[in-house]
């Protein structure tokens, strides 16, 4: 189905992390909140194969629970922002005129802000917690979907089958949902895959800055931030969460590349 083996590798990595996230409470060898201060910063051993952090908590168990936050924030933000963006893009592209002008100027305004800075500002105002991280990233995330969908709608809406549907008296809503949307779905799926990777990085960045999950919650970005304090004497505390973020983001990008090669007729592989 896919021409590159990297697509499959990406899918497998995502599947492994997703399973680890879903079954973390049963699979994790230790409680991710169980502090053993006497064993702080212990190096990897057979019992704790990624070692223990500054509070003596098992890093592997925290990583597994952290996957729940990273992946769920990634997927939820993309689902919500995708839904909003697709709706906006469909309306904007299909109707044109003033709805198009207003929506696209709004998109321009939001795109003019440096993304992460706006997210930091929003979370600072709303207060640091996961829900507000989702809100902030959604506020930013729908824009790229809206712009992509609008462009696709513009190219599709003049086709004969849309003309035919319109002539046969179908409602605008039905034309958009039943006739246009399925025909522009492929680039949207590709965009969604890349967006998940972007959101995971953004969530980790916000948590790294102390603007994500509350202190103590196992979150990859926060683990990386805690590790930074002791990076000279105990690099393993930051290496493992760093690797986890890198692997997942890379996997989503592999998958996105594969999907794009599969769906985009303009893209070819040498």
């Amino acid at each position: 189905m896919f021409q590159s083996k990297w697509t499959y590798i990406g899918a497998v990595i995502i599947a492994v992390f997703a399973l680890a996230a879903i079954f973390a409470p049963w699979l994790a060898p230790y409680n991710p909140y169980d502090m053993r201060l006497a064993e702080q910063l212990s190096l990897p051993t057979l019992e704790h194969f990624m070692g223990q952090d500054a509070n003596g908590v098992d890093i592997f168990s925290r990583l597994m629970h952290g996957a729940r936050i990273s992946l769920s924030v990634g997927v939820i933000v993309v689902l919500i922002s995708g839904t909003i963006g697709i709706t906006m893009g469909l309306v904007s592209g299909y109707y044109g005129g003033w709805p198009d002008t207003i929506l696209m100027r709004l998109v321009d305004i939001l795109m003019a802000f440096p993304g992460l800075l706006l997210a930091i500002a929003l979370v600072s105002v709303l207060g640091p917690n996961i829900l507000n991280v989702v809100i902030a990233l959604t506020v930013l995330g729908w824009v790229s979907f809206a712009r992509l969908v609008r462009g696709q709608v513009l190219s599709v809406k003049e086709r004969e089958y849309i003309q035919a549907a319109r002539t046969s008296g179908q409602s605008d809503a039905r034309i958009m949902v039943v006739h246009i949307f399925p025909n522009i779905l492929s680039p949207v799926i590709v965009q969604a895959t890349f967006s998940v990777a972007g959101v995971i990085i953004a969530e980790s960045s916000l948590s790294f800055l102390g603007l994500g999950a509350p202190p103590g919650t196992p979150s990859w970005g926060a683990m990386l931030s805690e590790g930074k304090q002791v990076i000279l004497e105990a690099p393993h505390v930051s290496i493992f969460p760093g690797l986890a973020i890198m692997l997942v983001v890379m996997a989503f990008n592999f998958l996105g590349d594969g999907l794009r090669d599969r769906f985009d007729p303009k893209s070819t592989i040498n």
Binding site: Y33, L37, P128, G210, P214, P215, G216, E226, Q229, L232
Partner: protein, 531 residues
Amino acid sequence: MTYKRHLKTALTRYVCQRTGIIALFLIANLLLPPGPGWGEGAAYAAEFRVGLENAPKTLDPRYATDAYGMRITQHLIFDTLVTLGYDLQIEPSLATRWETPDDTTYIFHLKDGVTFHDGTPFTAEDVKFTFEHLMDETTKSPFAGTYKGKISRIEVLDPKTIKFVLTQPVASFLTSIILPVLPRHIIEGGQDFPTTLIGTGPFKFVSQSPTDLRFEANKKYWEDPPGCDRIIFKVVKDENTRFLKMKKEEIDLLVNALSSDKIKFFASGALHKAYQVIEEPGISYNYLAFNMADEKMKDNTLRQAIAHGIDVDEIIKYKLAGHAIRARGLLSPVNWFSEPDVPVMVYDPEKARQLLDKAGYKDPDGDGPRTRLTVEMKTSNNAEITAIARIIQAQLLKIGIHMDLKSYEWGTFYGDIKSGNFQMTSMRWVGVTEPDFYYDLFHSSQVPPAGRNRGRYINARVDDLVQQGRVTLDPDARKRIYSKIQTIVAGELPYISLWHLNNVSVVHRRVKNYRQHPMAGFFSFKDIRVE
């Protein structure tokens, strides 16, 4: 294809050229002798390099309220009338002696032969000007409130004698006047004071940038001239970078600017040959505060249960690597006023559970996951405070209390604390020397916005005692008053006392005569010699 080949050739040529240039540069580097300008590591013999975590907010002594700003202004650029010695007792400085003919009059005799950095002699007029200028509303100095309503008038008796008349007896008066004496001729004369910073101190201000502050010795200082020619403060915000700069011997001294994880590298091994670690009890105070106006928190039994559920010794041992001592109250044992015999809530989870039962918070499911109650703790997003709060959260969970930990950026956090929008919080007081601080923290009139009684602690007996402490001038009688206050507060637990951090200086062995002060100040810099 042709284009690609061209590109490749051009790239190869570019890389070769660049590599050649770099190689030549490296060879030249190896052949040339290292001069003083080569790398930051090369230091001048009499240059003393001190690392700071943050730049002082201002060096204008009228407005400097942050620790580094106050240390630099009080100990380096300027002098004060009196000072706090290494035993935290008042000692002479610009005032050689003083007398108190009655409870509200202080007459100070000033030192002869003292001049400002520009050569102008220092007189009693400068002292009078300093305090009147600080009290003047147009100056907008944060120190105005310290003197307003307390100093009735200041009289210059002669150029070297000055009289302060107070409105009422003020026991903390001598401590309260430890502020830099300003040059009247510069400020009144309309000259530029904030950038020249002319004082009488052992060091002259040279320059300031966001990353370094430079001072040079005042060779005409009224005591022995300083032992080093220059002091450079290097502002290095990141702890890992500070550590690496120490490792490269680019910094001679760090005071309380390394975590316990890093200090251990200087206490033994290779770095121990270059540096020594000086550790002594400090006077900072870490505590947990309750909002006594909160429905849950006003119950003393619950507060006691929480106090018995926190294993302070475990945190000191592992998280602070022993660089702190257990606190029994606001005043460190170094302080003469500290009362050692007060109730201490030792770690006793069983007793904590019994107290929770008594307070009506029964265990809903034995060993099950449900907790007895939830309390909310707000902290700033300072990494160290948050890390400690997480450990306390884990400890309280063991006695069945779910602590909902929320950390905010400073502005939001501080706003909530001042407005009483919290149940528990954890903070630190630094530089606590004067027991009159109990008035600020626990007198009922000091609930914000008026003062710093943020926990809304109201106790008529304590109100009465702190008021007495303010006006009792006899030190022994005053000590007895503060002993009573410390005992009451330790039992009523508006604060849970955690620890006093030790002062830890890591100092290069080429630096001689460095002495650590309980306030971690820069008192000994004028005596330092750099070999």
